[in-house]
């Protein structure tokens, strides 16, 4: 008999005038010591299923009567709130996605962990704190004694997630529900957290349900997989079998949408963009008139780079490494404090605002977040034609309209999108609009600032294909900023690794990814391609 057996789970949300079925007919089971991955792109009911097991659903949701949830032989779906309290936290632990907000900001770490122990195991405060310390050691937080006395805001995201894990395993539960436990974390931290969960699982013989959208994690960590789509489980099976022979077309598509392929070979030898010792310093100031304090934050520290025509240079690094600032500084979208940026021999740093405007059409940019990069008050037409208008391009209204339509077609959108507003489009569609905005100006260079990281896997694959096609057709030069080495491998010719504003490694993609020279790079590579070594 399985540890947890879910049969025909259905959850309905009562909305104002109708009911929405978030999940229906979902069945899966997990055994002691086993890891079940529930996978799907975001928002297909996998989180709802997990919450239904814990009965942590909002009041508007109800579990349908046909549902059967059996945990250690007991049917828990009909449990009263009171009986559920004995299960929740004690026998089923849960880790949430957002380590930033899942801890109460006004309690010390120690007492937050201790709370569950005192309530469930009737420990005294002292015993509970001692156990909390053991738990912190177990989740391998550096300097655990000091952490007991600290508040959540004093810990990093990864450390907070470790605290969350410590809380989840405090009562030695038989089952651990991990709801996207690593999504909010940096790639290198992700790997460590997953390794930790794995280790704890072995130690406590827990069953683990891992909810994720990341196929790499699924492949490396789980024993079995349940693939969900639109609130239904479409396929289950052992991980190996499922990845080797996916049965359902959706699963096949999901696995196929891992970034793949390679960019075309660069033929040109001319360097178009030449950046030399570029430096960006932020002056942080705080305090009042009398107690003014200053600190300098060097975001980009003497970075130099060269890109040939038609080439894609990738810039990778963890968040905060200065890669986005570098990109913006090259286009003079942030101030810079020294260095030289030359576009086809013309020094851009010397130009005033007016003169720079001539180059704006030739150097364009696509941002990471497709939601904040489009003004919600402008229609798609207005968004795209703005560049033409301010630069006096496109001549008459008719010609301009034709150019806008052509731009939309090129990114694969129908021209009837013209009069609609950004909020009516999905993330991937919005990103296409943002690309069209850049393309319509016939640029020679595109700065791509994490253009795919806010998108789901399959959409990401489509955008990568699009970018590759555009590069081929227009001979575009890309500077591609990303933290995702898989996307970089699919799109870039050369890659630069940045850390703390400096370049630590540089070379062709093959060189860097297969023979990383620095620890930092190999950590990134490991995190991206292997997850658990």
């Amino acid at each position: 008999m399985s540890l947890l057996d879910v049969k025909d789970l259905a959850v309905r949300f009562k909305l104002e005038d109708h009911t929405v079925e978030a999940v229906r007919g979902v069945s899966f089971s997990v055994d002691t010591g086993e890891t079940l991955a529930v996978v799907d792109e975001s928002g297909s009911g996998k989180s709802v299923s997990a919450r239904a097991i814990m009965k942590l659903l909002p009041r508007t949701a109800e579990i349908a009567p046909e549902t059967q949830i059996t945990f250690q032989g007991a049917r828990i779906e009909g449990f009263s709130e009171k009986r559920m309290l004995e299960v929740r936290g004690a026998r089923i632990g849960m880790i949430f996605q957002e380590p930033m907000t899942s801890l109460n900001p006004i309690y010390r770490i120690g007492s937050q962990i201790a709370e569950g122990l005192i309530l469930h195991q009737r420990m005294t405060k002292k015993q509970a704190l001692a156990r909390a310390l053991d738990l912190l050691k177990e989740v391998r937080i550096p300097d655990p004694e000091a952490r007991l006395e600290q508040y959540p805001h004093q810990l990093s995201g990864g450390q907070r997630q470790r605290v969350m894990i410590a809380m989840a395993i405090a009562n030695e539960p038989e089952l651990l529900l991990a709801d996207e436990p690593t999504t909010a974390l940096d790639v290198t931290v992700q790997a460590e957290i997953l390794k930790l969960i794995r280790g704890l699982q072995d130690r406590y013989h827990m069953g683990v349900i891992l909810i994720t959208h990341d196929l790499t994690i699924v492949e490396k960590v789980s024993d079995r997989v349940a693939v969900m789509r639109l609130g239904e489980v479409v396929e289950t099976g052992t991980t190996r079998a499922l990845f080797a022979r996916p049965q359902h077309p959706y699963t096949q598509k999901l696995i196929a949408s891992e970034p793949s392929g390679e960019p075309d070979v660069v033929t040109s030898k001319d360097t178009v963009l030449d950046v030399d010792r570029l430096r960006v310093v932020y002056h942080l100031r705080w305090g009042g008139m009398l107690t003014r304090q200053r600190r300098e934050l060097i975001a980009v520290d003497d970075v130099g780079l060269e890109i040939r025509k038609g080439e894609t240079l990738g810039v990778v690094g963890e968040s905060g490494s200065g890669k986005s600032t570098l990109g913006k500084a090259i286009l003079r979208l942030v101030h810079n404090d020294g260095g030289r940026v030359a576009w086809q021999g013309q020094d851009l740093q010397q130009l005033d605002k007016q003169a720079m405007r001539k180059f704006r059409t030739r150097l364009q940019v696509v941002f990471q977040d497709p939601f904040s990069s489009l003004n919600p008050r402008l229609s798609v037409r207005q968004v795209i034609e703005e560049g033409l208008i301010v630069n006096g391009l496109g001549g008459s209204g008719c010609e301009r309209d034709a150019r806008v339509r052509r731009g939309l077609e090129e990114v694969g959108l129908d021209s009837n999108a013209l009069n609609r507003f950004p909020h009516e489009f999905s993330g991937g569609q919005r990103q296409r609009i943002a690309i069209a905005r850049a393309l319509v100006l016939d640029p020679e260079f595109l700065l791509l600032d994490e253009p795919t990281s806010a998108l789901d896997l399959s959409v990401q694959a489509q955008v990568i294909d699009l970018l590759r096609a555009l590069q081929r057709n227009h001979g575009l030069t890309y500077l591609f900023i990303s933290h995702d080495l898989k996307v970089v491998r699919a799109l870039c010719h050369r890659v630069m690794v940045m850390k703390d504003g400096q370049i630590v490694e540089e070379g062709t993609v093959d060189e860097v990814l297969s023979h990383p020279k620095t620890d930092y790079t190999s950590k990134l590579v490991t995190a991206a391609f292997e997850v658990i070594a």
């Binding site: 909305l15 849960m94 609130g231 940019v365 959409v459």
Partner: protein
């Protein structure tokens, strides 16, 4: 911490210094000084000649140093305060000012502290109660209470209570702190009780406003906190205690309304037809997950403990973005709707990328309307405001009498009893009987007797007094009543003028004043706010210091001081404009700060950077990208500012400091109710307050609804 306190005290000192200079100058600004006062006094009371009186006045000026230049006088004054704690001598009481202040300081502090304590305690507890019982009876009741508490002007509440005490209860405890026999008695329980009997109306009135505010802030903060994941963590991690059924209902938070109202995209897609179907289905779980966030709370303690965190966050957010959203009425959290973003980008979404058919697009206004329509409070407010504006515009047409027409025969006529039915049958236009007023020779009470033999009825669309509507002279009115046969449904005032007509016509001046003030203030604000927020740097720094200064000014005393500058013999129209200028001067700062915050956050969004990247210049970025997105916020603040101005204006006019006759505003009408004696005999002179209340309430309701609706994207 010590360093922080030290810094803050230093800057407070600096501010005090500046305020002292400004108040000193303001006090000096009106014409005349104590010398002039003394001179007129000597002439009128002492029978002195002009020359002698002048000499006397000069002597007095020398004695008090009033002949010295202004800065020396200031130095004298501030020097005395700083070195010896000497505030000078009060001319009115003939006692040292320091003593006078000292005497009153403790009482004032005591009252203030008590009120503050009560407002906090009761407001916070009611707020918690409301949040935990969201959308239940208790919540609705306390929301209504909060609305009323924030809307009803304090002075009116005071008048009502006084009226009730004096004329209905006949309470002896009015107008002093103690009954005569306790004034000099030592403190005892009995004396304290006596004090309470006298002082409770003051405490009550001062508490209500703060209480209402606390209630609302508490409620929406708590609703925000209850949606935090850590509440869920607490729920998940801890158990063993019986969960309180009361608090368990907390999770009723985020009802369906919330979900459907929040995601316009859902609707857009629903209309899009078959092609988008899979994509639409993709939302559901995202929605579900989103509303899944609010968690239950174990017991009451948890809520209380969560408070400081909430406050902190709230303050932080407010200072960071300057947004009023933090005081969001229904506590809709500002949480991002990112899940829907993920959902929308679902696997099949891009398959359907080239939209199959043309759909009617949802413009911004459509979306706002969609959300606003669902807000019952806001809609009610909107309808009321529309009616109010219509009434104001057509006031001349609606008024049955000439508001300036005096009538000696009908002084202080009480509101007429309207009769729809007589022996002749039903009358669509009700009639009234003329009222004769006589004085009871024994009790000196007024006796009103209806002359039932005569029926007075206004003429529908009849000819009446001459007025102009949109500049066209006319004399037709909706209901034209004649003086010979009076039909005063709201009674008349001391000159026999019809109250209804006066209230109707006066709405124009009141609303014009409010509109003018708000228009000036909002223009300044938007300009300053955008300049400050977009440019940053030195301009921003100094504009913000200016804003801080204005915000630090004690509001009421400054109105008085500024109003005192207006020459008494100025033209009424000039007074009106000066008053408007003063009100705008003191009202622009708050909004400027908010606009700045909003501008700041918008100018950091990628679409502004993208506009820069395509080569758009500053004017274009401001006009096309920042201004439209800031405007929604400005509109809301404008709506919420109108009632504030209406209240201040009515209060100033009530005190006789506002607009001058022959211009008359609602507050001016109320002036008649200041005299308790008058009020006792003719309580209907308070009717303008009802008009003020309706105005304030409806604008507040409208603004509240708009605030929830103007940000339909919330990404």
């Amino acid at each position: 911490m010590a360093a922080f306190l030290w810094r803050r005290s230093l800057s407070a000192l600096g501010l005090l210094f500046v305020v002292s200079i400004v108040s000193f100058i303001l006090i000096q600004a009106p014409e005349g000084d104590f010398g002039t006062h003394y001179k007129t006094f000597a002439i009128s009371q002492g029978g002195m000649t002009e020359a002698d009186a002048q000499k006397l006045a000069d002597q007095i000026r020398v004695r008090y140093g009033l002949d010295q230049p202004l800065y020396l006088q200031y130095l004298n004054w501030i020097g005395g305060i700083v070195t010896e704690g000497d505030f000078g001598q009060s001319f009115t009481y003939n006692k040292p000012v320091a003593d006078l202040i000292g005497e009153r300081l403790w009482r004032t502090l005591g009252i203030a502290l008590t009120c503050h304590l009560l407002a906090t305690l009761i407001g916070v507890s009611l707020g918690i109660y409301a949040a935990v019982n969201q959308h239940r009876l208790g919540d609705t009741a306390s929301t209504v209470l909060a609305f009323l508490g924030m809307t009803i002007p304090r002075y009116f509440m005071a008048l009502l209570i006084l009226y009730w005490l004096a004329f209905i209860v006949g309470s002896p405890y009015i107008g002093s702190l103690f009954s005569p026999r306790y004034v000099l008695a030592p403190w005892s329980l009995a004396k304290f009780w006596d004090l309470l009997l006298h002082i409770w109306p003051i405490i009550l009135i001062a508490t209500v406003g703060g209480l209402a505010y606390n209630l609302r802030v508490m409620r929406c903060n708590l609703l925000d906190v209850l949606r935090q994941p850590f509440i869920e963590t607490a729920r998940e991690g801890a158990a063993g205690e019986e969960s309180d059924p009361q608090t368990r209902r907390t999770q009723r938070a985020a009802p369906a309304r919330h979900v459907s109202g929040r995601h316009p995209a859902l609707y857009a897609d629903r209309r899009a037809g078959g092609g988008d179907r899979p994509e639409r289905a993709d939302h559901r779980p995202a929605d579900a997950r989103h509303i899944g966030t609010p968690g239950r709370v174990r017991n009451g303690d948890d809520i209380l403990v969560a408070l400081p965190g909430a406050d902190h966050r709230q303050l932080h957010r407010r200072s960071a973005s300057g947004s009023t959203r933090s005081a969001n009425s229904h506590g809709r959290s500002g949480m991002s709707t990112q899940p829907i973003a993920d959902a929308r980008a679902g696997l099949l979404a891009d398959d359907a990328a080239p939209a199959v058919q043309t759909t009617r697009s949802q413009t911004y206004l459509n979306l706002v309307w969609r959300r606003f329509r669902k807000n019952r409070v806001g809609m009610t407010g909107g309808v009321l405001v529309a009616l109010l504006l219509l009434t104001t515009i057509f006031a001349d047409f609606l008024a049955p009498y000439d508001p300036a027409q005096r009538d000696r025969d009908n002084i202080y006529t009480p509101p007429a009893n309207l009769h729809f039915v007589s022996d002749e049958g039903f009358h669509p236009i009700p009639f009234a009987h003329p009222v004769a007023v006589t004085l009871n020779p024994q009790t000196f009470e007024l006796v009103f007797t209806e002359d039932t033999g005569v029926r007075c009825r206004p003429e529908f669309l009849g000819k009446g007094w001459n007025c102009t509507l949109f500049g066209i002279p006319m004399n037709r009115h909706l209901l034209a009543a004649s003086l010979e046969c009076p039909w005063h449904i709201l009674g008349t005032d001391r000159d026999g003028r019809d109250m209804l007509s006066r209230v109707l016509i006066r709405s124009q001046l009141t609303l014009i004043m409010a509109g003018l003030v708000v228009a000036i203030a909002v223009t300044i604000d938007t300009l300053f706010g955008i300049v400050s927020g977009y440019n940053g740097g030195t301009v921003d720094h100094w504009l913000q210091r200016g804003v801080e200064f204005i915000l630090a000014l004690p509001e009421l005393p400054f109105y008085f001081a500024l109003v005192a500058i207006i020459p008494r013999n100025a033209e009424p129209l000039h007074v009106f404009f000066m008053l408007a200028a003063i009100l705008s001067l003191l009202k622009w700062a708050q909004l400027a700060r908010e606009v700045r915050g909003k501008t700041l956050s918008i100018s950091q969004l990628d679409y502004v950077t993208a506009a820069e990247a395509v080569g758009a210049g500053t004017p274009r970025i401001v006009m096309r990208h920042i201004l439209p997105n800031v405007m929604s916020h400005v509109v809301v603040v404008t709506t919420l500012m109108i009632p504030i101005v209406v209240l201040i204006e009515s209060f100033l006019s009530f005190l006789g400091l506002g607009v001058q006759p022959p211009l008359v505003s609602w507050g001016m009408l109320l002036n008649a109710g200041k005299d308790l004696q008058n009020l006792g005999s003719y309580p209907w002179v308070l009717t303008p307050v009802v008009a003020t209340l309706i105005t304030v309430l409806s604008f507040n309701m409208l603004g509240d609804g708009l605030r929830d609706a103007v940000d339909p994207y919330q990404h």
